[in-house]
Symmetry: C2
Subunit: 593 residues, 2 copies
């Protein structure tokens, strides 16, 4: 059976050596000293390893069951959920006014990682609740906040997000769910929503659905969409639960993975709903949550890769097969552990260098979100807005790829469910799809974010890399050669691609859109390259400062060198593809596929 240990040291390295969180001028960051963050992550890791990880395969095997309209979660989920609530893990960054702990979003992100690694399906119940909390917190009325949020921070009530309908996912303008105004200022909601994660279950007293719907007579398309609170049980004025609302589970989907999470078809039949924010401005509420939600999904990408990697390393050290070609490493055994073989190394180094780079990227993203929100920093806001589709799209593609690679280390055993590696790959697969499929992330990046505010944010990104390189250059020859030069070359490729889009996208937008996916990936590599350069710098500094754990820092440097040498060359390939433009991509008539 797979196991998991939170990589506390790696996480602390990013928080303190790289991001220097305690030294940042962001409200709440002064609390984040090394001891505090270490204690929080240790505790989260303990819960993850001891409680959530053993339930991961239980959830996969049992799945959720719909019986007489009620969803039953797998054995042990309810007890584990109680432990999450009791430990206060469900609202680390929520407003203390509603029972949260008021910590930075970055701390929430770091604490979530072990839960996601250990049991992604389980953790989604609270993850969705957090999203629903944010929607109400940022857009609801005071009364709505008072009514719902105190119960949602504790996960006594959980939340869901209802966007997709059978005929519309990406294109929400096609939405059919209706919201008819009532005399008491409530609405009657009718329609069907699909793919509703955590749509119903037996671990909470109430489920607060956030539902997008159209009020008749409003504008056509996406501009006529409004957001509603639709509780499973109506909340009475005294806060107690009243009658069952007109919302029911039509079906539980059988999925490739995340079996422990109930993916529901939700039927709304004249269900009572309450408008959140302004009429017809539902998408605005969605968009403000999107950076956080997408960063959370990007985290799922590398968090699944992390747990898969840990188990692949264990197997590679354990499995005896063949001999080191340069001479037996374990002559006393029947064969050497397979970790001696270069191609196993190549595979594990790909995983390790991605996962650590993506963790740094994600934490940096969370830091930017804090800076944007808590310091009202418009530059940070613009930058994270640019980077969000990359965190989501690139990291979930690569996270799945790495989970598949980890499975490959197991050979035939990787394909057998009992060994657990298949589940990591199957679970990781969904992250490429939900919260905006990765093609949509690429479209968002190239079609929207690049040109946002006159292209200001992407130029700021390039300036940042340039400044970083010029400020750090010349202090250490090896660092310059192994980290700065590859980063500069990759960044140059990225700039060339952006330039290609500018010069050719005006003539025909397909010249840009045909390269959007490649651009997302090359941007991802540049970001991880930047992260590795910052990590390499921090590790060099620690070594120069005489840190005692030289092996840890040397390992960081070697892992970073690997990423720069073996992953960054991908940018050249992506650039070459991009520069072929729209023609090869769009040449065929639809009928000739």
């Amino acid at each position: 059976m797979p196991s998991y240990t939170a990589p506390v040291k790696d996480m602390q390295f990013i928080l303190h050596d790289v991001l220097d969180v305690a030294g940042q001028d962001i409200p709440g960051y002064d609390e984040l000293d090394r001891d505090f963050t270490g204690a929080v992550i240790e505790e989260a890791g303990k819960l993850a390893s001891e409680v959530l990880m053993p339930l991961n395969s239980v959830g996969d095997q049992q799945g959720c069951v719909l019986e007489n309209g009620v969803v039953r979660t797998p054995d042990g989920f309810k007890e584990a959920f109680e432990m999450m609530k009791e430990g206060g893990w469900t609202a680390l960054d929520c407003d203390p006014e509603y029972g949260g702990q008021g910590l930075p979003y970055l701390m929430h992100t770091a604490a979530q990682e072990p839960f996601v690694s250990a049991n992604m399906a389980f953790n989604m119940y609270q993850g969705l609740t957090h999203g629903a909390y944010s929607a109400i917190y940022f857009h609801g009325s005071d009364e709505q906040k008072q009514t719902y949020l105190p119960k949602m921070t504790t996960c006594e009530w959980t939340g869901t997000m209802n966007l997709t309908e059978p005929h519309c996912g990406t294109d929400l303008g096609l939405m059919r769910t209706k919201a008819v105004p009532q005399d008491d200022s409530s609405y009657k909601i009718s329609g069907q929503k699909i793919f509703i994660s955590a749509g119903d279950h037996d671990m909470a007293e109430n489920v607060i659905h956030l539902v997008l719907a159209k009020i008749p007579g409003g504008p056509d398309g996406i501009k006529g969409v409004s957001l509603f609170i639709v509780p499973k049980f109506i909340v009475k004025e005294d806060g107690s639960l009243g009658e069952r609302n007109g919302v029911s589970v039509g079906k539980l989907e059988e999925k490739m993975g995340i079996h422990g999470n109930a993916t529901c078809v939700m039927n709304y039949d004249d269900a009572t709903g309450y408008l959140v924010g302004e009429m017809h401005k539902g998408m605005r509420a969605m968009f403000t949550m999107m950076n956080e939600a997408r960063l959370g999904v990007g985290l799922q990408g590398y968090a699944q890769a992390e747990v898969a990697y840990q188990n692949a390393v264990a197997y590679a050290n354990d499995r005896l097969q063949g001999r080191d070609v340069t001479g037996a490493k374990a002559p006393e055994k029947s064969a050497d552990p397979i970790i001696v073989h270069p191609d196993i190394r190549r595979n594990l180094m790909d995983q390790k260098s991605f996962t650590e780079g993506a963790r740094a990227f994600t934490y940096w993203g969370a830091y930017l979100i804090d800076r944007a929100h808590k310091n009202s920093d418009a530059d940070a806001d613009g930058l994270i807005s640019l980077l969000t589709p990359i965190i989501k799209g690139f990291q979930t593609d690569k996270g799945f790829e790495m989970a598949v690679n980890a499975q490959q280390v197991y050979g035939g055993h990787g394909y057998i469910e009992e060994w657990g590696m298949s589940q990591f790959a199957r679970d990781a697969r969904i992250a490429m799809i939900y919260e905006g499929a990765n093609g949509i992330q690429a479209l968002d990046l190239v079609g929207r974010k690049l040109a946002q505010d006159g292209g200001k944010h992407v130029m700021a990104f390039f300036d940042m890399i340039k400044t970083f390189a010029s400020e750090t250059k010349g202090q250490d020859e090896a660092f310059d050669r192994d980290f700065l030069e590859p980063l500069k070359a990759a960044s140059k490729d990225l700039q060339a691609a952006a330039m290609y889009f500018m010069q050719n996208g005006m003539k025909n937008p397909n010249n840009a859109l045909a390269g959007s996916y490649d651009f997302m990936h090359m941007f991802g590599h540049v970001c991880l390259g930047y992260m590795w350069a910052r990590m390499g710098l921090a590790a060099s500094k620690a070594l120069k400062d005489g840190a005692s754990d030289t092996e840890f820092y040397e390992t960081k440097l070697a892992t970073g060198r690997y990423y720069m040498a073996r992953q960054l060359p991908a940018t050249k390939m992506h650039l070459a593809r991009i520069e072929t433009g729209a023609e090869p991509v769009m040449a065929l008539e639809a009928a000739n596929f």
Copy 2:
């Protein structure tokens, strides 16, 4: 529910326009005229579409069941298997002396493709039988051939291959299964074998297990391994079935995919076995079959991609979402079909250009096997020996990747089992693992095949590309620019990588082995590039010759241009990785992963 139509026209194009099979001086090829091959493929395609495809999801959902020691296959499998037998599909290329039809291996390969696309798990029952047939045919005694082969060509008896044990897969020298000689020249076989595909089932009267085992007192390691026939029921002298042999199913594995095929733990307890070929020369018998078996797995890679692609195209034409950015394509509808969007195109073109290129590569490989066997052509034998790990490793990696991409086209529906796209990805996944995991293919390529016969075959490959380019150059400017130039550039990268290995592998073999996986992939791209150049040439010729179906040939040219422009640039990335050598890959101590 997914559907499948055999791409008969594409297959015929390769057989006739590209390979000109009827014009080849290979015994049996003169029969392969356009009408004959067309009729065979049409019929295979019909059986695949109408019978096997509907059973694909049945097999996935029901799986095989072990009850009281007997394996029950999914509903409908037995009837479908009878149809396969009755249609004579199980022995197209087998020796007529034993009931086969004596057709070229290439014809067998082409006819298998639709079965593999439509139902990979089902088709493995006969696929494994074919492998066992070959082992006995090439290495068994006349008596063994007379006893077993006539029932195996008809699949009245099916076959299995027993290599792996719990503690050894790749490193078969560690094998523990014992074969103790008996007075009557038979052996008593004892031990446990795992991952035995089609190990037992209810569709045949007998199962003929081919089992690797060690005769006590023989050489250590791989040199002491012998091959045995171990029938489930002992065959009496009159050919009728006698008593049950000491072989039983210990367990059925729960797997990520190919649920319709019974993957068994087989226990041998003093089972009666008969030596095949010479004592201690069991691996030789295995190796002679390997080219065929690995080509068959490489076919599985692209055949799963093909069926996934067909369904992705159908969905992309059907699903309405968003508008073409250059102007609505279906203004009368609520939205345009998603096939208008460039990133959907990019995804579909990746799939299409890979699948068609891989089909050509596989058929060419089968042609080389025929030439090697039937014409005793040592050059063809050397070339296919070199290319086999690439057909297997590259095509199954890419085949899985493309099945995942096809699943992505479906958005959320791709993750729901009901839609069938998940199964294609899950089934395709195994092909990267079995018949030698892909890392082992890369090792075989770089560690063995490159240097085979003094590097003669890889040099012959480069010469072949060079000759092809110089012979075709200058006739058509567009062809030179779009096909030949990219091919030459990619081939140059591949040569540079081979050169790097030669120059640096002597100092430290890890300099070569650390780049083996990248080399396998870049070699795959060059081979598909070569295939596309040949297909492009054939399409140009057909157009010049006034072929009536211009759209078909124009589509070939456009698809080929896409592969050359958008896939071949990968060789530069692989070369850059390879040239970083062993250092980044091997830098860490095992304890620091």
